[in-house]
Symmetry: none
Amino acid sequence: MARPLSEDARTKMLRAAQAIISADGLDACTVDEVARCSGVAKTTIYRHFGNADELGIAAIDDMIEEVATPDHGSLRADLRSIVLGFRGVVGHDTFRQVFASMLGRAARDPEFAKIFAQTQEMRHEPLRIAIQRGIARGEVDPEIGVETAMYFVQGPFVAKRLIELVDFTDREVDVFLDLVIKALSP
Amino acid sequence: MARPLSEDARTKMLRAAQAIISADGLDACTVDEVARCSGVAKTTIYRHFGNADELGIAAIDDMIEEVATPDHGSLRADLRSIVLGFRGVVGHDTFRQVFASMLGRAARDPEFAKIFAQTQEMRHEPLRIAIQRGIARGEVDPEIGVETAMYFVQGPFVAKRLIELVDFTDREVDVFLDLVIKALSP
Amino acid sequence: MARPLSEDARTKMLRAAQAIISADGLDACTVDEVARCSGVAKTTIYRHFGNADELGIAAIDDMIEEVATPDHGSLRADLRSIVLGFRGVVGHDTFRQVFASMLGRAARDPEFAKIFAQTQEMRHEPLRIAIQRGIARGEVDPEIGVETAMYFVQGPFVAKRLIELVDFTDREVDVFLDLVIKALSP
Amino acid sequence: MARPLSEDARTKMLRAAQAIISADGLDACTVDEVARCSGVAKTTIYRHFGNADELGIAAIDDMIEEVATPDHGSLRADLRSIVLGFRGVVGHDTFRQVFASMLGRAARDPEFAKIFAQTQEMRHEPLRIAIQRGIARGEVDPEIGVETAMYFVQGPFVAKRLIELVDFTDREVDVFLDLVIKALSP
DNA sequence: TGTTAAGCGAGACGGTACGTCGCGTCTTAAT
DNA sequence: ATTAAGACGCGACGTACCGTCTCGCTTAACA
């Protein structure tokens, strides 16, 4: 019955927050600063995003583009494309920084953990599709199960890049994929 | 001519910090709070640990116990033991929270990233040994390389438990190990 | 052509405001709070009372009862009755608090000062009547003038109770009145 | 054992606060503004004066100058001088505003009421002295008592100027003094 | 007897001040 | 010279109230 949250204000905040994050990192993305830059009142920011981190998360979330999942004809090609896409995103410090803060938040806030899980879920979709195609093509042992296969494919890359913070070369991608495909094949 | 930094004070700080972390999480582990709880002066804290996070890191670091790496006779048994140990540690919210905060810090501070990498390195030692034993026993293809193999073993568990926040059952451990061993075998 | 301001809403606001003032003091009587408690919309409050203090003033004003001015037959008896009435009102912290806030507002807002003066005027009426009766009875020197006499009568009581915050006994009232009457007599 | 509150910071805050009060009134004297103008941190202000009003009060308190009480040879002349001095002070909106706010605070905070009373006490000293001289000279009935006499002298002026907000002329001063002296004379 | 302008509740909005917390530095006295 | 204690400048946090503004809904006065 009352006035709805202004979509306009929301947009202004997110744009400002994104600009700040890109320029000076997530830590610079404070409520005060976003208020200053966006011209939106602090109060309003808190009305939209209950607290400081939510704002950052929303800003990041809003930055992430949708990823298509074209069929490249083979499991290997499909996985390769996905992995390279992942490398592109995760290569940025900003992303890792934000990701870490989300992880931390999720660890201490079950409520948030759910939202976080959904984000992840979305991110997994292409991989899931690729594996299902692989099963259809007879390249993946159907007994392994899509979820299991998914974690198995992701695993090495996540471990190396996200946790170990080490980048990986094209050649390494190929080596990893060789092993992955060998293990998944019937 | 002067007095050396007091080992006693250091211990008191670390104990206090650890108590706080265990009780209320890493975020509650502030310099002011540690000073209050330990009876050590803020100045002293800064003299021992250059800044707030170092203190937290030191406290965490001090908590981590050494892990032995007994030889169970087979690659599978060795990995299984390591993975279950990992599950025990990573199952705690506190650990994940601390881990996330370290990850975040590493993402925005290259200096810290090095220290972090060292910590990881230490943590990996048992795994590295197990894989080397596997190579010696002819269970692991020597061409794959220890580091690569290591990422493969860790990967699925890291991806599922640390990132996805989902716990895994004994059965899943076995399924993942099946895939891992298949991938690594000559 | 349109609808008049709802008398019902006005009543609800005033009742709520008065309840709040009685319970938690004038400072707690905010527009938001009155809106919450009364169920009346903020907009409506502003439509009825142009701003926050007006609301408070109106609420107070509505609380003040009319005072009769019966003729007790002598100047002394009339004044005594008025002074005791004054003591009854001004003895309450709430009244003094409200009064002080009105005084403050008046000091910085000439517009409000006029309204405030009117309120005072109303309060003075009984005193004025009593003095006029005194003149008629020959108890008061007509050359002094009603206004002057009025301030002179009020003065000691106002100074002691309202400004000095000290209560006065029945005996003190009599002492003060003795002196006042002595000074006013022809 | 620790560092004492800095006298220097205190001075800077008070000076800034006084400047603000003089320029824009008591309401403009906010913690944020004082911090801005004085260069002292907000935190420090709160360390010195527990809350916003304390600061204002302290600033005012610090402004009040000592008043001398010369002997003019007669009760009338002494009182006249004091009353005219009072008129000079109380004529300023700023003073009345501050005074009102102190009155309000006193009404709802007994703790503060005591401090306020002391301030008043100090302000009354000259008047008390004048009356005592009057008694000594035989101009004031000693039975009336100094305190009572004091309320009589103050009363009309307080009532008219402080409460009614109406200024008074020199002639009115004389008329009031006539009444007062008549009331107090033996 | 409709219109229709205004009142109404709800609550978002831009502001400004509040009081708190953590950081890392600095000062003091005591050991 | 190190310590405990804690003040200092800084700047973010989240909250409260202000007075204005949009929303639909309802209602009284006029046509």
